[in-house]
């Protein structure tokens, strides 16, 4: 296990190939929860945790069950099932074990099931044949990158609350423009690490 490689994976997945700003995935949540900082922070924490665990579970299922049984053509369906089952059980367990935490973060769990990054990460892990720890590092990097995108966007949108944006551009349209401009800035990272 090469520690440097893992670090590289985390940086690459969070900054250089940031899912929101270079692959434009996960936009529904990205625009949905960034109206307020509070929801963005809650979503960031929940998302990163779910991301790491589901990347790990998917790796185990893919490498230990699906490859020996030659079932790799079913990976999309199975990964969706794994994520949905994991999120649902986490939801139920959290409600029983820690109601205060459920009260804070439970709302976001249901949203995550339908996110596209959460299915993209296991698929990329499977495609690149990452090892167990590499898969988790990639999941962690993707989660952190998404969290970063949410925090940046929420802080900018809160600043824009008082701005005199032309009426047709209020709300979602101007958010798309902001996302485009941030993506333009993120192209500066291109070519930094080639995996």
């Amino acid at each position: 296990m090469d520690f440097f490689k893992l670090l590289e994976l985390v940086v690459a997945a969070s900054l250089i190939n940031n899912f929101v700003f270079t692959r434009f995935l996960g936009l529904c949540i990205f625009f949905g929860v960034t109206k307020k900082m509070e929801t963005a922070v809650g979503m960031s924490i929940t998302f990163t945790a779910v991301m790491v665990v589901s990347a790990a579970i998917s790796w185990v299922v893919y490498e230990q069950i699906m490859i020996p049984l030659d079932l790799t053509f079913l990976k999309i369906i199975i990964f969706i099932g794994i994520v949905a089952a994991f999120v649902q059980s986490a939801d139920t367990i959290m409600k029983k074990v820690s109601p205060s935490m459920y009260y804070k973060l439970g709302v976001y769990l249901a949203l995550i099931t339908t996110n596209c990054i959460i299915i993209a990460v296991p698929l990329i892990n499977a495609g690149e044949h990452y090892s167990f720890f590499e898969s988790m590092a990639f999941g962690l990097g993707s989660g952190l990158g998404f969290a970063l995108a949410l925090l940046i966007m929420a802080s900018i949108r809160e600043k824009l609350e008082v701005a005199d944006v032309p009426a047709p551009f209020k709300g979602l349209p101007i958010s798309f423009i902001i996302a485009g401009l941030i993506a333009l800035a993120f192209t500066g990272f291109s070519g930094l690490i080639t995996l």
């Binding site: 900082m37 205060s100 009260y103 925090l151 940046i152 802080s155 900018i156 809160e158 600043k159 824009l160 701005a163 005199d164 944006v165 032309p166 551009f169 101007i174 423009i177 902001i178 401009l181 941030i182 333009l184 800035a185 993120f186 192209t187 500066g188 990272f189 291109s190 070519g191 930094l192 690490i193």
Partner: protein
Amino acid sequence: MATEAKAHELIVSVSPHVRGKETVGRIMWTVNLSLLPAFIMSVYYFGPLAAYVTGLCILSAVLTEHIYQVSLNKKTTIGDGSAFLTGLLLGLNLPASVPFYIPIVGSFIAIVITKLLFGGLGYNIFNPALIGRAFLLISFPRLMTIWLKPTAQFVSLDAKTTATPLGILKEGGLDQLMQVFGDKADLYMSLLVGNRAGSLGETSVIALLIGAALLLYRGYITWHIPFSFLATVGVMAWALGGDSGFFTGDPLIHLLSGGLILGAFFMATDYVTCPSIRKGQIVFGIGCGLITMLIRLKGGFPEGVMFAILLMNCFAPLIDRGVKSKMFGAIKEQKK
């Protein structure tokens, strides 16, 4: 009662009661003036083309702002010099050889998309001129990287193209840079006066520093962002920029080349897009320096100042939140 009040001449008004002489227009026109030396040097080295490109940028930026505001029945704000400044900065950030439509497209992106759609001056998240340039660099990568060799003859008949110092450093390393410029003293001298290829306004370090001194003297910019930015670049270049291990790099080459001086003094310090708290400004400067050197040393582009400032622009509202000091006597909010 009414007569009594009249007798004492009581005038009730809301604050502020004492007003300074500074206005947005005054500051913006001073910044424009402080860029004049750099503009003159660009005309000296690149000939009438420099004046043509910069003039076209300014004209199209001011016209775009005017047309947009008139057609939306708003008060036109071209008099305050901010559109002029955006055009000027964009022009000084372009190579001399661009065709006529590049300044026009860049000005449109800078003025309309980056500034006016967000509500005009004071609300934009990103530095307009830099977004204009980044957009052009991504959209027209070839046209935006043809650099003319400076000639110092006002009208040169045969324009030669060459690579920028940072471009040579990226492709061929320090040895090749030395071959082109002779010895180190010659290299530093060329970089200082601006006798090198590059964007129009970024080449002459001395001219830029004269303008920066004016801004610092008038108190329009403070030392926080430029100093932390330059110091971070210097330390990073010294520590990681060398060919033979750590702490052997040459910080001066990195400090004097590229758009660093122009960026650090004139663009990173934009009031609207940098953090407004001093502590945050230092964080902002350090971040700009780190990303600049990361891109210069490891990235796909030879120059990273533009992307570094834009990336830190994204983080500026977040930095302001992070370093906000606690209200005196405030009690931490109780957790639910």
